[in-house]
């Protein structure tokens, strides 16, 4: 079959053309190659000195490997992230350039084109590094597994950074705040991936299998976050009148449903005997809490008025309408779905997870630990519900209302707690009650107060339930507005 350029996404073609015409591309390529060549020359020049000082030649390979990965990461940030982000942001700021409003392309096509162009550039950059990675291998001091693991970490870091960059770009804020936020996130992600690569190489050496479980868990979480940012991005690119958060809602449901499969898979990791049922239940429990937090978070930014386009898509049978309500745009549906996830997780925590006792050894976590994790879900719900009430009562923008709520009842108590703890350090005061409206209350408990946690764990659901009572009229109003009246 003949492959023509018609087979490719138009955005991919345009982005690659723009990349290759840009001066930044040439400069970055040149710097990437020069940096790696310079490393090779420096290593070669110092070889005799290193040998004379009884350093083994094993140091040479890892040094070149590290240099290659670091230059790859920097080039990735410049070309795949910052250049793509600034271009995307420019397109989004100007509605006359915004493909999502100007062309007949779907948000998925646009986002996919942007992503694949970034990935293509990342692969191109990696291919430029490959000769140096081969040299690093032949210089000794590295196994194939070490190299593969290091490269994998760097690639995952790049995927994450690209997704975050595109997200910030699609937000389309004029200020530099987005870029700074991105820089901070990428910086931490990049550092973690590079450190991970180095640590895996120097410390673990060939015994990577001992760390398979944490690596799998970390990768799973990173891909969950990447997927979440992707669906948020889709929502941002969709028309405000469309059912824009439906992909995000479906993503959270899918995440919860496939999580036991992940639990099933990690049970088959060699050398780590995990009880299958308990592991699958635990992963499902954690996924439910994560999904609940995601739903609450998105609902905090959503409008409270159901648009006519969403209304016309809605089935009119009551049960189907309720199902549609859960996955349709509007804060009410998000809150309801978050409650469903949270209640399922709550039931699992109360009924299945053991207290610290005899059965504890077979379960990955105890009831107290499960309730502590649940507190994050309930706190997210609390902020979103109060945010909805403020938004409706004081006619504030949903995002501003949510942010104000989060600042007042989460970040401010945290700051006060930190300040008080620092000021009265060592004087025997306990300020942990300040954190009662945050999910960090349980974390601040000391061991001797652990007996109280069962009581404390009810604060979260209680507050969330009270706030739900206040927000309920607004949620009901949204649900009712999905029904098409006979005269409309």
């Amino acid at each position: 079959m003949k492959i023509t350029s018609d087979s490719f996404n138009p955005v991919l073609i345009k982005e690659l053309r723009q990349h290759f015409h840009g001066k930044l591309f040439l400069i970055t390529m040149a710097l990437l190659l020069l940096a790696q060549l310079a490393t090779v020359f420096i290593l070669y020049a110092n070889m005799e000195t290193a040998l004379a000082n009884n350093h083994t030649v094993d140091v040479m390979g890892p040094a070149l490997f590290t240099a290659s990965l670091v230059t790859f990461s920097i080039a990735c940030v410049l070309l795949c992230c910052i250049a793509s982000l600034s271009r995307f942001m420019g397109e989004r700021i100007n509605p006359e350039l915004d493909f999502s409003r100007f062309c007949a392309m779907s948000p998925l096509q646009i986002l996919w084109g942007k992503m694949t162009s970034c990935y293509a550039i990342a692969i191109y950059l990696l291919s430029l590094c490959l000769p140096f990675l081969v040299i690093a291998y032949f210089l000794r001091g590295l196994s194939i597994i070490n190299i593969a693991l290091g490269v994998a970490f760097a690639i995952v870091g790049a995927l994450f950074a690209i997704q975050v960059a595109l997200f910030i770009g699609s937000v389309g804020q004029k200020s530099l705040v987005g870029i700074l936020v991105f820089g901070a996130i990428w910086g931490s992600g990049g550092i973690i991936s590079v450190i991970g690569g180095i640590v895996s190489r120097f410390i673990y050496r060939g015994s990577v299998s001992n760390f398979t479980l944490p690596i799998c868990l970390a990768l799973f979480l990173v891909f969950v976050v990447i997927g979440f940012i992707f669906v948020l991005n889709l929502a941002l690119l969709s028309s405000p009148l469309a059912n824009r958060t439906m992909p995000a809602r479906i993503y959270t449901i899918a995440l919860a449903l496939i999580s036991p499969v992940f639990g099933f898979c990690i049970c088959y990791i060699p050398k780590i005997p995990l009880p299958m049922t308990e592991t699958m239940v635990t992963t499902f429990f954690v996924a439910c809490v994560i999904s609940s937090c995601m739903c609450s978070f998105i609902a905090g930014f959503e409008r409270s008025v159901i648009g006519p386009r969403v209304q016309h898509q809605c089935p009119q049978k009551p049960l189907q309408r309720f199902g549609f309500f859960l996955i349709s745009s509007g804060s009410g549906g998000g809150i309801m779905l978050a409650w469903i996830f949270e209640l399922i997780a709550f039931a699992i925590a109360l009924c299945l997870f053991p207290s610290r006792g005899a059965a504890y050894s077979t379960w990955p976590m105890s009831k107290v630990e499960a309730l502590a994790i649940l507190a994050f879900g309930f706190s997210s719900l609390l902020y979103t519900e109060i945010g909805l009430c403020i938004h409706k009562r004081f006619n504030m923008m949903p995002f501003s209302a949510w942010l104000a709520t989060a600042v007042i009842i989460c970040f401010l108590p945290l700051l006060l707690f930190a300040f008080a703890s620092f000021t009265y350090e060592g004087k025997g005061y306990d300020f942990s009650h300040m954190l009662i409206t945050t999910p960090f209350y349980l974390i601040s408990l000391n061991d001797h107060r652990l007996a109280l946690t069962d009581i404390v764990c009810w604060f979260g659901p209680f507050f969330a339930l009270v706030a739900y009572g206040f927000a309920f009229p607004y949620i009901l109003e949204q649900f009712k507005s999905l029904r098409i009246s006979s005269d409309s």
Binding site: R17, E96, R101, F102, C103, A104, H312
Partner: protein, 343 residues
């Protein structure tokens, strides 16, 4: 295709940028969209091009709603903004190629369409240039080419001739005429009313977000005249003094109903002689000598009174080589309808 703007409202905070506007136009017509700065033209145009959402109301292309089916509308509408972005890293042909691909054109069809559009808009010679190196006129041509690349049935253009030199403007307007002859519906916003008058079949006039008038040009002018007859205050014309200053001061000014008919008379020589002869006619209210060989006459009468007037001048031996009745222009209509207030 019938384009219907139906009770369109767009609010920004407490300000009504567009306030319950309704009008219609059809394929094969060029419709001018006129209004002072800040009247709501661009907002309306952006809503029509699916770049913005209305607070209330809708725009229908036949029966397709921009609110319900913006994706379908984008295939019907070609939108030309008032300026093209200055990309430094994309060439003219790449830019057009992207939009052709984005609208689903493939293979040979895409290549042929692009070649046709480039030829029509006279871009063939500059297709390898980067966008940021183009002149304003060339950018407008690229912008028009982009709007045409998917062969839309409706063209919506926001100030397409702004900033263009006279030649580029004339060329652009002639392209629009060709497109209208091909059956496209064109909505065109512009401040150059004399040019709109030459090419438009109809016009919409808005001010402060409100619709003031819309319809075919001749209807607009007719209604503007009637509107003036009904609402304009009487106009006082000072009478020429006849030697006695006191008598002239005591004489009340002539009060007349609008409108006067404006007639331009071109003469071979002796414009002053013609002026004196004209002053003898009771229906002639004002005479201005525009140039040594041209006079502008304000005539209080009907069309049927003009031939006797001209016959009397010929009979008196006035060296007249031509005359024409001046009709009401779009600029006159605009000035009479709008108040010049801004929100």
């Amino acid at each position: 295709m019938k384009i219907k703007i139906d009770h369109l409202i767009r609010r920004f905070g407490k300000k009504n940028a567009v306030n319950d506007i309704s009008f219609e136009f059809e394929s094969g017509n060029i419709f001018g969209f006129i209004g002072p700065n800040g009247a709501g033209k661009t907002t309306t145009i952006k809503i029509m091009a699916t770049l913005d959402q209305p607070t209330a109301g809708d725009v229908f292309f036949d029966d397709i709603s921009t609110i319900a089916y913006p994706e379908k509308v984008r295939r019907i509408v070609g939108y030309m903004p008032d300026s093209l972005p200055s990309f430094t890293d994309i060439k003219v042909w790449e830019y057009l190629d992207f939009y052709a691909r984005a609208f689903g054109l493939k293979g040979e069809t895409r290549r042929k369409t692009l070649a046709d559009v480039e030829a029509f808009t006279n871009l063939t010679g500059i297709r390898e240039k980067y966008l940021n190196t183009l002149s304003k006129g060339m950018k407008q041509r690229v912008s028009l080419a982009r709007a045409l690349v998917h062969n839309p049935q409706v063209l919506i253009m926001d100030e397409p001739a702004a900033g263009l030199d006279p030649r580029a403007r004339i060329e652009l307007l002639s392209l629009l005429k060709i497109l209208a002859d091909q059956g496209k519906a064109i909505l065109l916003s512009s401040h150059i009313l004399s040019e709109l008058q030459d090419i438009c079949d109809g016009a919409v006039i808005i001010e402060q977000g409100k619709l003031l008038a819309s319809g075919p040009l001749d209807h607009l002018m007719e209604s503007a005249v009637q509107n003036r007859l009904a609402t304009a205050p009487p106009m006082a014309i000072p009478q020429p003094t006849a030697g006695n200053g006191e008598a002239a001061a005591a004489q009340p000014p002539i009060v007349m109903a609008n409108p006067l008919i404006a007639i331009t008379i071109r003469v071979l020589r002796d414009a002053e002689q013609v002026r004196l002869k004209l002053m003898e006619h009771p229906a002639v209210k004002q005479i201005d000598i525009n140039s040594p060989l041209e006079l502008a006459v304000q005539f209080d009468g009907t069309d049927e009174d003009i031939p006797p007037l001209m016959a009397s001048l010929f009979a008196a031996g006035c060296p007249i080589v031509g005359f024409s009745k001046q009709s009401l222009g779009l600029e006159d209509v605009f000035m009479r309808i709008t108040t010049g207030e801004v929100q």
